[in-house]
């Protein structure tokens, strides 16, 4: 209010010095008025956003689950050139920061997004740009890997959004209450996801244990080796013991991906899709979020059977870099307007073994832009 009063006095004084004409008075109010209005609007939007986020957090603490609810903002997002914005953001954050400013810039980032700077492998002034700092490695021993051979470890630092067992036709993964997507649309139609035809399910469960186990193994092999065209993912059900886990990485999190178990990666699939944001709000409002976004899927075998990991990009974290295939480039300029291009596949040699990873080995990293 005091700022507005001061502004009013200043503009009045200016208009008197200009002869007090009505048109002159209007002009002098135009620019500061618009600036103040914009600032007020941005402030109001920010306060409202904070209020909404707080309400969501409180409701989640009470156990309330939000249902899928598309809105105008999510429709509007699809119209924006998010890939170009992401690439510009990447260029901007690649700009070298003066050495003296680096600790302040990275410190501010860490405060804003709750990053632990003590874990960074190198002193802050050694990271030339925000992009380099963002994808920083950690000090040796910062992430001890659970040595239990009968456990599957987290591949990333993040927040568990969803997890569960894939059951029923089509192997649907719940994005949010009220909306699900099929595992096939996430991993690709040519995925080796072990599914069995609906009719086989009851037949299998009525057999003795040993026979059932043997049949399960054979069935998996048959399904894995069969051409994807002969299977119908919609009418098929997941073989028993097929699970999923969705983990969201906040901007302040460590952004490198590690192997969740000893794993032979056989296939890499790159989907060049959209780059919609993937925050909590986006999961509730944008349909097919993970299925439409650019992603890299690694698929292979571990000692218990099938394992696939999908690294899904977002507007700010647009590109994915693979340690096992450094030449792969993602978030490239689009040649076609269509967002539904088929994925680009690569089968890792040698055939049947692929790339061997040990539990905890680094697999990939998310980059800014």
């Amino acid at each position: 209010a005091s700022f507005l009063k001061k502004l009013h006095k200043t503009t009045q004084a200016r208009s008197f010095s200009n002869g007090g004409g009505g048109g002159s008075k209007g002009d002098s109010f135009l620019l500061p008025g618009a600036t103040v209005a914009t600032l007020l609007m941005l402030g109001a939007l920010h306060v409202r956003r904070m209020y909404d986020d707080r309400k969501v957090e409180e409701a989640q603490e009470k156990g309330t689950e939000f249902e899928f609810q598309p809105d105008v903002k999510s429709t509007f997002l699809r119209l924006l050139p998010l890939r170009s914005i992401s690439r510009c953001w990447g260029l901007l954050t690649s700009v070298e920061i003066p050495v003296s400013l680096r600790p302040y810039v990275y410190g501010a980032w860490a405060r804003a997004f709750n990053s632990n700077l003590e874990e960074a492998a190198f002193p802050l002034d050694e990271y030339a740009s925000l992009r380099e700092f963002f994808v920083r490695t950690l000090k040796e021993g910062s992430r001890p890997i659970d040595p239990d051979p009968q456990c599957l470890v987290s591949p990333v630092d993040g927040t568990v959004l969803r997890f569960g067992e894939l059951r029923g036709a089509g192997a649907m993964i719940e994005q949010v209450k009220g909306f699900s997507y099929s595992a096939f649309s996430l991993l690709g139609a040519s995925s080796f996801l072990p599914l069995i035809a609906k009719g086989d399910v009851n037949e299998e469960s009525s057999e003795p244990e040993n026979a059932s186990r043997e049949k399960s193994k054979k069935s998996w092999l048959r399904v894995s080796l069969a051409s994807p065209k002969v299977r119908d993912p919609v009418s098929a059900c997941p073989m028993k013991g097929l699970f999923y886990c969705v983990i969201y990485l906040k901007p302040g999190d460590y952004h490198r991906i590690h192997a969740p178990a000893d794993w032979n990666v056989l296939v890499r699939r790159h989907f060049s899709g959209r780059l919609l944001p993937v925050n909590e709000r986006a999961t509730r409002t944008i349909r097919n979020l993970y299925v439409e976004n650019e992603r890299v899927v690694l698929e292979g075998l571990w000692k218990e059977g099938f394992m696939a990991l999908a690294a899904v990009g977002a507007t700010n974290i647009g590109s994915i870099e693979l340690s096992i295939e450094p030449e792969l480039r993602t978030n490239q300029a689009r040649k076609k307007l269509l967002h539904s291009e088929p994925p680009e596949d690569r089968i890792y040699e040698p055939d049947g073994i692929g790339r061997t990873l040990k539990k905890g080995d680094e697999v990939a990293a998310f980059n800014m832009g």
Binding site: G158, T159, F163, W220, G241, V278
Partner: protein, 46 residues
């Protein structure tokens, strides 16, 4: 950014007909913060 992990894991064959029969058990809850190397789930020897 988000990571989705899809995997096969051991299940208890003797309980196959029942719901929630999985021998593999997630050791995390929805909304939990996890870090690289921390267990997501475990299973027992049959």
């Amino acid at each position: 950014s988000t990571v989705v992990l899809v995997f096969q894991a051991p299940i208890s064959l003797s309980q196959e007909n029942r719901d929630s029969s999985s021998e593999f058990r997630f050791s995390v809850q929805r909304g939990d913060r996890v870090r690289v190397g921390e267990a997501l789930g475990r299973w027992q020897d049959q």
